[in-house]
């Protein structure tokens, strides 16, 4: 504990390093707490979604999705009525894979394997960006089918939930980019890589949120 108390301000690197022996590092704990707050943020949006969905009445009967968009969010159809390719399933698979590559990167840096670390983080970043591009494409497809933010509560909840998730993916991608840049500059080691751990936690969180969103919006 002594070392902890002085770790952040002590100028000697030896002391700063020492706190790794006393449990998780401050940045990792900070990230876990930040993720807790993010969970509550999404919990608020999910609560709104479920309330609205449970109370939705159309033509006198409860149904969800509304008639107009009965098949719009079917993940398994290949093309839409306008002939666009439906790529939401591939996008989901890509994001899930990126969680694995991210974790492989973390394991690599824990072994001091710099090449494996940089390679895996680069792949993760690439997959994340691909997901964002696919999501942008998917929004375009939905717009063409007439589904917008103003399409009743169905459109509002869909675009708010996926939009905020997309913004979080974007934030995670920025963090990955910084990790990649610093990793290529050789700033991380098996002993000193709190930022890598924190970023990977965040990336996993973003991935889990998408799995939840996908299950609720597309499957349930």
């Amino acid at each position: 504990m002594t070392a902890d108390a002085h770790a952040l301000t002590a100028p000697e690197p030896g002391v700063a390093e020492a706190h790794h022996t006393g449990g998780i590092g401050n940045p990792v704990l900070g990230m876990l707490l930040f993720i807790t707050s993010e969970v509550m943020f999404f919990a608020g949006l999910f609560a709104a979604y479920f309330s609205i969905r449970a109370n939705f009445v159309e033509e006198g009967v409860h149904r969800w999705p509304p008639k107009e968009f009965a098949n719009t969010l079917d993940p398994f159809r290949l093309t839409t009525e306008h002939g666009d390719l439906n790529l939401i399933l591939p996008a989901t698979i890509i994001l899930v894979i990126s969680s694995f590559t991210c974790q492989w990167g973390v394991w690599a840096i824990r072994r001091d394997d710099h090449r494996g670390f940089v390679r895996n983080i680069a792949v993760t970043l690439g997959l994340g960006v691909t997901f964002l591009l696919l999501q942008a494409y998917d929004y375009g497809v939905l717009f063409r089918e007439g589904m917008t933010m103003g399409s009743g509560t169905f459109g509002t909840t869909y675009f708010t939930l996926t939009g905020f998730h997309g913004a979080h993916v974007f934030g995670g991608a920025l963090m990955l980019a910084v990790v990649l840049y610093r990793g290529m500059a050789g700033q991380f080691s098996a002993r000193h890589h709190d930022m890598v751990e924190a970023t990977s936690l965040y990336w996993h969180f973003v991935d889990v949120v998408w799995i939840l969103l996908f299950s609720i919006l597309y499957l349930l």
Binding site: G23, S37, L45, T160
Partner: protein, 540 residues
Amino acid sequence: MATTTLDPAAPAYRSGLYEWLTTTDHKKIGIMYLVNSILFFLAGGILALVVRVELAQPGLQFMDEAFYNQAFTMHASFMLFLFIIPILAGFGNYVVPLQIGAPDMAFPRINALSLWLLPLGGALMASGFLVSGGAAAAGWTEYPPLSGAKYSGTGTDLWIMGLTLIGTSSILGAINFLVTIFKMRAPGMTLFRMPILVWTVLVTSVLVLMATPVLTSALIMLFIDRNYGGNFFDPNKGGLAVLYQNVFWFYSHPAVYIMILPAMGIISEILPVFSRKPLFGYKAFVFATAGIGALGFSVWAHHMFTTGQVFLPFFSLMTFLIAVPTGVKMFNWIATLFRGQLTFSTPLLYALGFLSLFLIGGLNGAFSAAVPVDFAIHDTYFVVAHIHYVLFGGSVFGVFAGIYYWFPKMTGRMLNETLGKIQFVLMFIGFNLTFFPMHQLGLAGMPRRIADYASTAGWSELNLAATVGGFVIALAMLPFFWNVLVSLRSGKRAGDDPWEANTLEWATSSPPPAYNFDHLPEVRSERPVFDARHGRTAAH
């Protein structure tokens, strides 16, 4: 105690403006939190007087309803989000690292970010007064559909953006407090040796971490409805008007505990020092604080009993139950005073003011927990009385107790006792004169948030009394500001430990040096400085 006795005029506190603006030192950040909050306290206070002046007699004398609605909306928004919550965070910032023997907060730069988001958010909110249509005017709760695009102007968007920034500041601050408390305690400072203030900041931080993001989500949904054609709260498009209230109060009820728990912590620091006894029932206190935090998440719908859309018995039961841990605290405070040796310095006076007024704020809350009685008094002046007995009689008296208690530590100089007592007496009288009659007004049927009332309603005398009381409170601020200005220059030198206190902040110089401690006393109980003074080892 080998501490460096720094002169109050030591360079750290005479450094230039640039140093203050760019600092990451938790003490300077804490002081800037306090200053920023006091400025918004003044702004909110002026708006309160504006409201009181209009209500002093029947008829519209000074403003139209449009401005009146902005005045009370912004009064509450300033007081809650820019005064009470941040000033308590400011005390936490200044005191918590010192009390646990840490050199600074865990993330000093994020700490600075938390601070600077506040004036930014506040300015955004306040800028509503400059746009056409005026500031937000749908009450500090901003219920849709009234706060929707159809019924409210740009001021509401500015309010949402400002509050989102303030909320973000709170969340970052909470993360910072939690990591600091969990990871940076001095050797020997086990969890159950932490001062109660640290405990209350810990529980408050958990509440902020879990509740404030939900406010953010409510605000964002409202913003989307207002600006991007969303339909969350629009009943004509399948949205639910009351949904906002559920999400909002899921935050805002725990927020009441965010606004009172650290003040309870301050009181729990002061009572033992000025009665020369340890806090009675330390562990009971910790558990009561945690209990309030936990129950705080299950009572939000008691603000919505009259919506006809909540499960009444559950929320009624929970609301009654939350009185129990609060009562436990009250009895422990009194037991701390019992058989002590009380010295009536200004901090103790404010602490006693807190006890006697917060008691009323607790008891008149029980009326609203009884649902059928709530049907009668909800949205009347009775609940206005209740909230002010809790947040003014409680939190604000706690805040002033804290200011008088820690001012010597922050500046190295004592505040003047006579001026402090004059302020206390004026504030105590003014407070009761303002807010006690509101009970009767509410029982007589006066709804809140109205600019005018009929002269035949029988509410005129009590409203006049309340307005006079408001000006007495305003008057009480004059000796306070005079006291601060004079004492900063020529107050009595404080020394390290002017109050013969218990906790670690008094083991260093006043003001403390950068990184706080040259040497830490051994921590073997929750009163390390007391132990050192009396040459004691652990008491338990």
